[in-house]
């Protein structure tokens, strides 16, 4: 798979996040500080600007640059989290062929970065609640013989389910945790953007 495919993914994701910016901010208004949509939009517009300016020789360089751009442009919680995700995702793919297996390992590395930074556990009502079932579904699909696209589709579906299951949870991490019991009944913005990320990957990669 070519660098081009990954670039297309990031462009598609940027468009998706731009179209969903108001929605993500709306979700963040209910249990946060009303900026998740503009944070993601700002970050991925910057990524697109980098793609327009630079050509990359390898997938890992492309993804690491995307990660660094997110770290430098987003701020808030989502900047370091998604930034670290892409940094480690890219690093794990360095020198490797892009296959369902290597991408699976790289996704795990990326999510490991999110955990290292954010120390979230399952059920804390964060983006990890979308990532965790996504990783499992991805592995199961690959074990069952899926190709990259099939595995990504499975991951995206599992993420969407995990996202929906954040609704009843009481948040224990991030800003929503300040609301205590009042955080229940709302969908986590970060789990929502994670689902958009995986849906976009399923559309454009593989």
């Amino acid at each position: 798979m070519a660098v081009e495919n990954f670039a297309n993914w990031l462009r598609d994701l940027a468009n998706t996040l731009h179209d969903n910016a108001a929605y993500l901010t709306e979700l963040d208004s209910a249990i946060g500080d009303a900026d998740h949509g503009s944070n993601m939009d700002r970050g991925f517009q910057a990524v697109v600007a980098v793609l327009d300016e630079t050509s990359f020789d390898s997938v890992d360089e492309l993804l690491k640059k995307a990660g660094m751009t997110l770290v430098s442009k987003v701020g808030g919680a989502s900047g370091p989290l998604y930034g670290t995700f892409f940094l480690r995702f890219g690093t794990a793919l360095a020198g490797a062929e892009v296959t369902a297996e290597t991408v699976g390992e790289a996704l795990k590395a990326g999510v490991g970065g999110i955990l290292a930074r954010g120390k979230a556990e399952l059920g804390d009502k964060t983006m990890y609640d979308a990532w965790a079932p996504a990783l499992t579904a991805y592995d199961e699909a690959v074990a069952g013989g899926s190709d990259l696209r099939g595995a990504l589709v499975a991951a995206a579906e599992a993420a969407a389910k995990g996202r929906d299951e954040t609704v009843p949870l009481v948040a224990r991490k991030g800003r929503a945790s300040y609301l205590g019991e009042r955080s229940a009944g709302h969908q986590d913005p970060g789990a929502t953007s994670t689902t958009l990320l995986l849906e976009s990957a399923a559309r454009t990669l593989g």
Binding site: S29, A30, G37, G75, P80, L81, R172, G180
Partner: protein, 337 residues
């Protein structure tokens, strides 16, 4: 702009345009790196002095940019509205104010702020070898503290800490001493806030939450996030009790303790109401046998145009009071200079 009443141009330019205004209004106090959105003390770096850096999302003015100057911060990094700044900013600021004595990062306890400052400290140590220590403020008693959660928010005590620690750094105390002092201040301080209205994040264009005409939010933070409890509007006397009681119970402060009492406006509350609230707070402190050594009343750590207030109590000893009284010369706090 539909529903948003603000003196702004494009919502995307609010932070950079406000920084331009700050720079133009205070040429004697600060210089601003507009590219990186860093407000520097005009004469930074100060040789031999520990560098003090803070920062966070914008929308809390005068904090932090208004607290840059002799006796307080050396640099403040401004994020987007309610979004923590990025590591690049703190890294640039750290390198710039490092005068050989090391740099203290003053960070309010929000996941984003903590992570972005952490990344900056790692990078600054790796790249430039700068010794960086951090203090994280977490004084908001509205939030249940626990090892398993994000913990308490950093709010009002941050202002008092920046002043006190700023004076200590000015005296030439070492990085470790300054960091220990900062932790002591944070440990001695507690806050609680409430809102009469929501605020509107410029990029969002509508209020973060809706409050009916006869409601208030109690236990809010400083990012327009909803609070812990929605209650019917109440007289100032009752509001004061809702704020002071949990603060007093938490530390706990005990009879005979001496405090700095800080009644802070959230941005849209005028001084006449803050002084009225301060009167109520004082009655409660008198009744609890707490002595007020010093006080601060005004809009210092705000949430855009939100109406409401917070109460911060900081237990002080003679050293803290002396440091509080030491000269400070910033756009937002100034005395003795």
């Amino acid at each position: 702009m539909g529903g948003m009443k603000k003196l702004i141009n494009d919502p995307a330019d609010v932070v950079s345009e406000a920084l331009r205004g700050l720079a133009l209004a205070h040429p004697d106090h600060v210089r601003v790196d507009h590219e990186n959105r860093i407000v520097y003390r005009k004469d930074a770096p100060r040789s031999g002095k520990v560098g003090l850096i803070s920062g966070g999302g914008s929308g809390h003015e005068p904090m932090h940019g208004g607290f840059v100057g002799p006796g307080m911060l050396d640099a403040a990094c401004a994020g987007e509205v309610f979004t923590s700044p990025v590591p690049d900013q703190m890294m640039a600021a750290t390198k710039e104010v490092d005068a050989g004595a090391g740099v203290l990062h003053i960070v309010k306890n929000y996941t984003g702020d903590v992570m972005n400052f952490e990344m900056a400290a790692e990078l600054a140590a790796a790249e430039a070898g700068t010794e960086v220590l951090s203090v994280v403020t977490d004084d908001d008693v509205a939030v249940q503290d626990s090892l398993y959660t994000a913990g308490r928010r950093g709010v009002g005590v941050t202002v008092l800490l920046e002043k006190i620690v700023g004076a200590a750094a000015e005296q030439g105390r070492s990085l470790q001493e300054v960091a220990d002092l900062a932790k002591k201040v944070n440990g001695n301080g507690r806050s609680m806030g409430m809102a009469l209205t929501s605020c509107t994040v410029p990029a969002a264009g509508k209020p973060t939450f809706e409050l009916a005409e006869n409601e208030m939010e109690v236990g809010i933070g400083i990012h327009g996030e909803p609070g812990r409890q929605r209650l019917p509007l109440a007289p100032a006397k009752d509001v004061a009790a809702l704020l002071v009681d949990p603060v007093l119970q938490d530390l706990p402060y005990s009879q005979g303790d001496s405090v700095i009492a800080f009644v802070n406006g959230m941005g849209g509350t005028p001084l006449i109401e803050l002084y009225l609230m301060y009167n109520e707070v004082r009655q409660l402190l008198d009744a609890a046998g707490i002595t007020v050594a010093r006080s601060l009343v005004g809009n210092y750590i705000t949430s855009l145009e939100m109406a409401g207030c917070s109460v911060t109590l900081l237990k002080v000893d003679d050293d803290l009071v002396r440091l509080w009284d030491a000269p400070v010369n910033t756009p937002g706090l100034r005395w003795g200079a």
